[in-house]
């Protein structure tokens, strides 16, 4: 579904992504793990069209999209839930969600919005209760739910989630992961960036490890979560085991 080939992106003199290639097949949840500054968000923003790559290709459903604008990429079926949620704080929950469907063709919009809203109220009932409140007044967890909901409104074929658990209390983060699991059951394809590697690998089918702009490991979730090197670097040591 999504194929990233030899991607290089940077800001000014700084090259953040150095030759990144990966792919996501339909129905998969693929997780991208890596430390702060590894280039995870840069990669997501490049796929979504907020950043232009210097070299390389992003193929979506076989077509190159790396030179398209963000607003066109959404209408092709890729929706990004950006890092830090990026809601329209003064607008109400309902308005935020409605704008999520902006990219749909005008004729089917009203109907599609109704259907999608029902789905999102089902996924996150708390948003229905808060629908008339400005998005800025929601709690962190609710804001994240709204950000996911807004991205779902455009009926994406591929959902990009950038650190959905960032800054959330563990219990709230758990709730978000539950929702992601439910999305997968509904057949949404997801590319997920997470610092919380253990939780992410638990719901993902495959994973990539990004280190200073390069993919250093890839594999099935189980393989990654049992690889000693990755466990040591990203999942934290279990002191009961002896490493040396």
């Amino acid at each position: 579904m999504l194929r990233v080939q030899n991607l290089r992106t940077g800001y000014g003199n700084l090259e953040v992504l150095r030759n990144v290639s990966l792919h996501v097949d339909a129905g998969e949840i693929v997780v991208l793990i890596g430390a702060n500054g590894a280039g995870k968000s840069t990669l997501m923003n490049t796929i979504a069209g907020l950043l232009r790559p210097r070299e390389g290709k992003v193929l979506f459903l076989g077509e190159p999209i790396q030179s398209r604008r963000a607003s066109e990429i959404v209408s092709r079926g890729i929706s990004l839930v950006p890092e830090g949620r990026q809601l329209f704080a003064p607008l109400t929950v309902l308005e935020n969600l409605t704008l999520g469907a902006y990219s749909l063709p005008r004729k089917q919009r009203t109907l599609a919005v109704q259907g999608k809203l029902e789905e999102i109220w089902g996924l996150f009932p708390i948003l229905y209760e808060r629908r008339r409140q400005p998005a800025g007044t929601l709690s962190g967890g609710e804001q994240q739910m709204l950000a996911v909901g807004r991205a779902l409104m455009s009926r994406p074929k591929l959902l990009l989630l950038d650190e959905p658990s960032m800054g959330l209390a563990p219990l709230v983060a758990k709730e978000i992961f539950l929702a992601i699991r439910r999305l997968r059951e509904n057949g949404t394809t997801i590319l997920l960036v997470e610092q919380n590697a253990r939780a992410a690998l638990a719901i993902a089918t495959r994973g990539y490890v990004l280190e200073v702009g390069m993919i250093v490991a890839e594999g099935k979730s189980e393989e990654l979560s049992s690889s000693k090197e990755i466990v040591r670097a990203y999942l934290g040591k279990d002191y009961k085991e002896v490493w040396e």
Binding site: A48, G49, L50, R69, A70, S71, V74, S75, S79, L80, P82, Q86, L87, F88, A89, P90, L91, E95, N96, T98, L99, G100, Y102, S103, R109, R150, A151, S154
Partner: protein, 297 residues
């Protein structure tokens, strides 16, 4: 001063303040979608008056009004596509300088087309002043107030209930997120220029019967309107209306202060307010300091 004189100055203040409020609304619309201050805003007011004067010679006022507004809207769109759009990746400061250039350009063109003289326009209805409690009010003032009200109501409905209006607010709140929703920011920038050109034109058309119009009058409206926008808090519609009326009233009361030549200092009042607010409370009456810190210049 006796109450009826105060009332008289109040009417005058509301009249001119309503115009400043509309100019300030125009500033806000462009500011919200692009982050820039469009210094050609005053020229939209001037052009509104000029086109209205020209069209009113060949058709009734009722028909000339919408056509004059449309003409200025086209000028506004043209200005955006020709000057702002090619430089859209530039910094906010360079875009603001471009609008100053645009303002000079429009002023020059207007001088070429209409010459340097001032033009009158007949009042919309009778010129017979209406007597209210010892003071009199011109019917044109009532027109200005109703047009301001109408503009504010239509704008509020537009921003609240239409998807495009919501998209413009979204764009003001968070531009990258707006493009992630599929909103084409370029198109909204064009629309915001069209809207503020239209509002500026409306202001110019309703004020011309009282003040006349010539090719230089735009700068003063831009200055006062900008002061009004800053006073109310840049980007805030309620602020624009309150700011505009406040500046209008202060000018008129200021002109009545009991010292020699008080009325010639009238234009300085808006500047004084602008300076005081920019130094002491740049976020304006309705702005929150936290938000103004996020503003891009």
């Amino acid at each position: 001063m006796d109450p009826s004189t105060i009332l008289q100055y109040t009417f005058a203040g509301i009249k001119i303040g309503g115009i400043y409020a509309m100019v300030a609304l125009g500033f806000n619309i462009i500011y919200n979608t692009t982050g820039i201050i469009n210094f050609a805003q005053g020229e939209f007011v001037m052009l509104g008056g000029m086109f209205m004067v020209t069209f009113s010679r060949i058709m009734p006022l009722g028909a000339a009004f919408p056509i004059a507004v449309l003409a200025v809207v086209i000028v506004g769109c043209f200005l955006e596509r020709a000057t702002i759009w090619p430089a859209r990746n530039g910094s906010v400061i360079s875009l603001i300088m471009i609008t100053i250039g645009g303002s000079l350009l429009l002023k020059g063109l207007a001088m070429k087309v209409w010459g340097k003289s001032s033009f009158p326009l007949r009042h919309f209805s009778s010129e017979e002043p209406i007597k209210i409690l010892e003071a009199t009010i011109q019917p044109q003032t009532l027109w200005i107030i109703s047009v301001l009200l109408l503009v504010v109501i239509v704008l509020a409905l537009f921003f609240k209930f239409t998807l495009t209006g919501k998209a413009m607010r979204a764009c003001a709140a968070n531009r990258p997120a707006a493009s992630l929703c599929g909103i084409s920011v370029d198109r909204l920038v064009l629309l915001s220029f069209a809207l503020s050109a239209g509002i500026g034109a409306v202001a110019g058309i309703v004020i011309t019967p009282v003040t006349l119009v010539n090719y230089t009058c735009g700068s003063m409206y831009a200055l006062k309107g900008f002061a009004a926008a800053v006073l109310g808090g840049l980007g805030i519609s309620t602020g624009a209306v309150v700011g505009g009326l406040t500046i209008g009233l202060m000018e008129c009361y200021g002109a009545a202060l009991p010292f020699q030549g008080a009325s010639s200092y009238k234009d300085g009042i808006a500047l004084l307010v602008l300076l005081i607010f920019l130094c002491a409370k740049p976020s304006g009456i309705f702005g929150r300091a936290a938000i103004s810190e996020l503003k891009r210049f």
